[in-house]
Symmetry: C2
Subunit: 399 residues, 2 copies
């Protein structure tokens, strides 16, 4: 049959994720990929994960539950552990404030599914996480840009009944720029959204990957200022993909309990629940992993960040290119001359066996043609130098 006329309007404008497609390039060993924002597999806690699966599958009382359906809210001990961790970081939560999701991507998708009607306004950073834009676009919002905190631009959002349905914000080591909001900027975002009476959705996959000092409090913590999550305007999307392993697909949403009750219904309708056994594995890992393990993870990425910045300083010297100097996370963001076309440059780069993600994927309006994201997560220091050298050649020959 002819399928094209069958599709619902919400699928219009859907495109494949450039980053997901780039993942396929990772299979080619000659490519140095600064593309996917995927974690270094050598950092996965393999031994402890194996022990956790073994414990569960060898425990006659537990295994029947681990392989069975469970409640859509998620595995209760894991929810308790997450609530305790969030409380310790200044976001007072109880177990009823936590819903386990299939990575934070699903929590992000659910927020738009819950709050955004076609045509309603929604606040986003520019640039912002492309996976979030893919999810949001299915709900057909009208995007309104959160003003760059460094500018003095006024916000153009509507007021009253037409006010934005939500603001999607990454405050720490943002994807794609690697930059974080200052404390003053966090207060600005919260004040703005309180003024508009708009919920904030904080997406925080990289907060634990800080390289310098202790990280700043999350937007949720700043918003709450000691109060309980039940009184929060900020919903918090967390994940174990960057701290443990993405292949487990375990993330969470923290929100007021009444909001969680609604989202549990979304979860039931979408896919019932996250894999029970994987939830129990994460719960066991949170207990069994040494407390200082994340220091090693952070140190590994810090070395690569340093290598990336050093290589950019060395090889891009004299070119009209600026880049961010992130204090954590996985990404550096490049600003090329205004006439540059990053998507066209990617083709040249792949011919030179180096890859990145062109900036337009991170712009809700398709702008940012002269920007690109480099991830330093998967290459070692030597490869990073070679990769940036290749990139510099592409720039010299094509800019």
């Amino acid at each position: 049959m002819t399928w094209t006329p069958q599709y619902a309007e919400r699928t219009a404008g859907m495109t494949r994720s450039e980053v997901r497609e780039l993942l396929k390039l990772l299979e080619r060993p000659e490519i140095i990929s600064f593309g996917g924002g995927v974690p270094e597999p050598a950092l996965f806690p393999v031994k402890e994960t194996q022990a956790a699966y073994d414990d569960i599958l060898g425990d006659p009382k537990l295994v029947g539950r681990a392989l069975q359906y469970g409640v859509s809210e998620g595995w209760t001990p894991l929810r308790e552990q997450i609530a305790a961790t969030m409380t310790a970081k200044g976001v007072r939560c109880d177990v009823e404030n936590i819903l386990i999701t299939s990575g934070s991507q699903q929590a992000i998708d659910f927020t738009a599914r819950a709050f955004v009607d076609p045509g309603s306004e929604m606040l986003v950073q520019r640039p912002t996480f492309l996976g979030a834009l893919k999810a949001f676009s299915a709900y057909r919002p009208k995007y309104v840009v959160l003003p760059d905190p460094k500018s003095n631009e006024p916000i153009t959002a509507s007021r009253g009944a037409d006010r934005p349905r939500m603001a999607y914000v990454m405050a720490d080591f943002q994807n794609p720029t690697g930059e974080s909001l200052t404390m003053a900027e966090r207060h600005d975002v919260i004040r703005l959204c309180a003024d508009l009476d708009t919920p904030i959705v904080e997406d925080d996959p990289y907060g634990e990957l800080y390289f310098e000092a202790e990280p700043m409090p999350t937007l949720a913590a700043v918003d709450l200022d000691g109060r309980h999550m039940d009184e929060s305007r900020t919903l918090y999307c967390g994940t174990f993909s960057k701290t443990l392993a993405p292949g487990l697909r375990v993330g969470w949403l923290a929100a007021p309990r009444g909001v969680i009750e609604r989202f549990v219904m979304l979860k039931q309708a979408a896919d019932i629940q996250v894999s029970t056994i994987n939830q129990i594995v994460v719960s066991k890992l949170l207990d069994s992993l040494p407390a200082n393990r994340m220091d090693h993870v952070r140190a590994t990425y810090r070395v690569r960040r340093d290598a990336m910045l050093a290589a950019l300083d060395k090889h891009l010297g004299g070119m009209d290119i600026s880049f961010t100097r992130p204090d954590g996370g996985l990404f550096v963001w490049l600003q090329l001359p205004a006439h540059a076309n990053a998507p066209a440059l990617l083709e040249k780069a792949v011919a030179e066996n180096v890859a990145f993600v062109p900036g337009p994927a991170f712009h809700h309006d398709g702008g940012g043609a002269n920007t690109m994201r480099l991830s330093y997560s998967l290459a070692d220091a030597a490869q990073i130098d070679v990769g940036v050298q290749r990139l510099a050649k592409v720039f010299r020959e094509n800019l």
Copy 2:
């Protein structure tokens, strides 16, 4: 903040799944639950599952991929195995025809997300699977009932541009009735949908749980009649939840490759991918489990089906109650006298320590108050007899 006015229109009418809530009752040991349609945990292939996780986590070449992000389409070897199995059952598929989903629930959700605009018509059986109704209702279709094949009622669906966007059908051991379409009825559904030019979504979680002869060909196989899935009007939703274990959350959609390409975008936006390690575990189980294992699974449920029918014959004798006599699957469907109110009876039943699912949950229009679903999957023959005896007492005292 005040959350109620924040919610999108699509969340209106969302209700918690009665069956999911009933799962919570399973924790109370004194309850004999005929409620959840969950598989018997004693049938989970625990030893082989443990071996599969161990193999993966002990293989230095595989583990880095198993815990990492993977492509949204799913683990290629698993997709190949599914394509081969479907081909062997008369649905000619290649790897490009298979998308791995988080259980068949996610495939069901995606079909409506892809095809249904608010207000557009959609064909459903009455009664039908409540989890599908929960998913569909978020897309706000206008439900049109597929006529009972035993009746001669004409279909009331629109034609032309307003024709139904999809027909959702369970052909084998349907949830909730346990009944299957005859071959003639399969041809009727396909002819009707061809006449309307409407895609068919076949949901087949129970097809492998046949008790009597070899099962009939699936709707997809009848539709294709030897042609390739690329030419199919019927999309097929499959799952390993009833044959292996639901806690792994691995299912699939089989569809023409152009349709799969669209659904891959839905998957990217929804939650990126199914747990990589769980997909590899399922792939290994399909290779390692003995070929006759499903005979034991079928025999176990057949004994319980027999016990359920015998207990119903024995304890409901003389009452004005009819019930189905399924040849497979997990469910028996009861039709009580017209004045009966199954939701009210459930409260009485729980007081007697027995549970079921009242029929209205399976009716898109909230009808069916005098119907109920009994699952025999979790209780042994002796418990089934006791449970049905308790039910009979509730009926005697309240009908």
